[in-house]
Subunit: 194 residues, 2 copies
């Protein structure tokens, strides 16, 4: 059986990765979602094991030591990581899995899974991104400024990705990502890829 | 302005390239169609300048000598070729152009346009392909046998293409090709590609 595709959906903080990812999961019920581990506190409505595996810092460090994370990164004071086994088992079973992940983490995944499909979600503009980061209303000004500076740096990493999708409207963005997944399944695998 | 995409739709004789290409043109009115030149006689309903530019052998040889063809090939006793200027002008204007072409011709185009998107249309099976070639009802048995042998050889060239699309149902095949075109427009252009 052919292995599944690893689809990595990334992009700067505030671009709408989570919203697009949730919409994709609703449209593509067979698409498996990789649940990340994190040390950050749950936001309103977030559930352990559904949105994230919420871990203490001590638990997270233990996962790192036992090599149970495909990648991990510190971001704005919290750790985020991808449990390795679940991703590998899903791919081996022939199902596609989507990882919603920040930019640094995605590039670490790329080192281990260069055959993954790396999609960078773009804001329509940097001004639009600032509005979205401010609109979340959960951060103070210093955090907002820091996020904007990080986002600008992250945009420069776009060229390490396979695809760029503008998140102008969620429906358009999802259609493009669905097309990318369909197209990747039609790709001819060259001997060098196998 | 970004250049358009050259989409090359190929596959063995009888696989349904023409039917799929016509359906794609109906669905994607902005997609420009590259009209080939040929020395073969028009089939019922085919119009000069719409389906092909029908040329005498002398006229075709003159186009070759004047380097007016992007590629040409002899196939079952007739010549087929792609007028060069129209393709290049369409791409420069930022529009996508589709070329429906037999397998040998497609690989010659690839030498000149490696950045093209090469799609190989597959029959659901070789038996199905035989049915389709016989079903056309315009050829004698020797021609059918020759076509089947050529088709089997052509299938081996699949790995030189970017995408493989099974023509199981025309709607499914067209959706996959539309997805490929959408995905290709989202591709991040690496410095090496430019």
């Amino acid at each position: 059986m052919a292995k599944g595709l690893l689809i990595v959906l990334s992009g700067p903080s505030g671009v709408g990765k989570g919203t697009v990812c949730n919409e994709l999961r609703a449209r593509m019920p067979k698409l498996v979602y990789s649940v990340s581990a994190t040390t950050r506190h749950p936001r309103l409505g977030e559930e352990n094991g559904v949105n994230y595996f919420f871990k203490s810092r001590e638990q997270f460090m233990e996962m790192i030591e036992k090599d149970q994370l495909l990648e991990y990164a510190e971001y704005v004071g919290n750790y985020y990581g991808t449990p390795r086994d679940f991703v590998e088992e899903t791919l081996e079973s022939g199902r596609d899995i989507i990882l919603e992940i920040e930019v640094q983490g995605a590039l670490k995944v790329k080192e281990k899974f260069p055959e993954g499909v790396f999609v960078f979600l773009l804001p329509p503009s940097l001004d639009e991104l600032k509005d979205r980061i401010q609109g979340r209303g959960t951060e103070n000004q210093a955090t907002i400024d820091h996020r904007m500076s990080v986002a600008a740096d992250e945009m420069r990493l776009l060229e390490q990705y396979d695809y760029a999708v503008v998140n102008d409207e969620i429906d358009h963005a999802c259609r493009r990502i669905e097309a990318i997944i369909t197209a990747e399944h039609c790709k001819v695998r060259k001997p060098a890829d196998i």
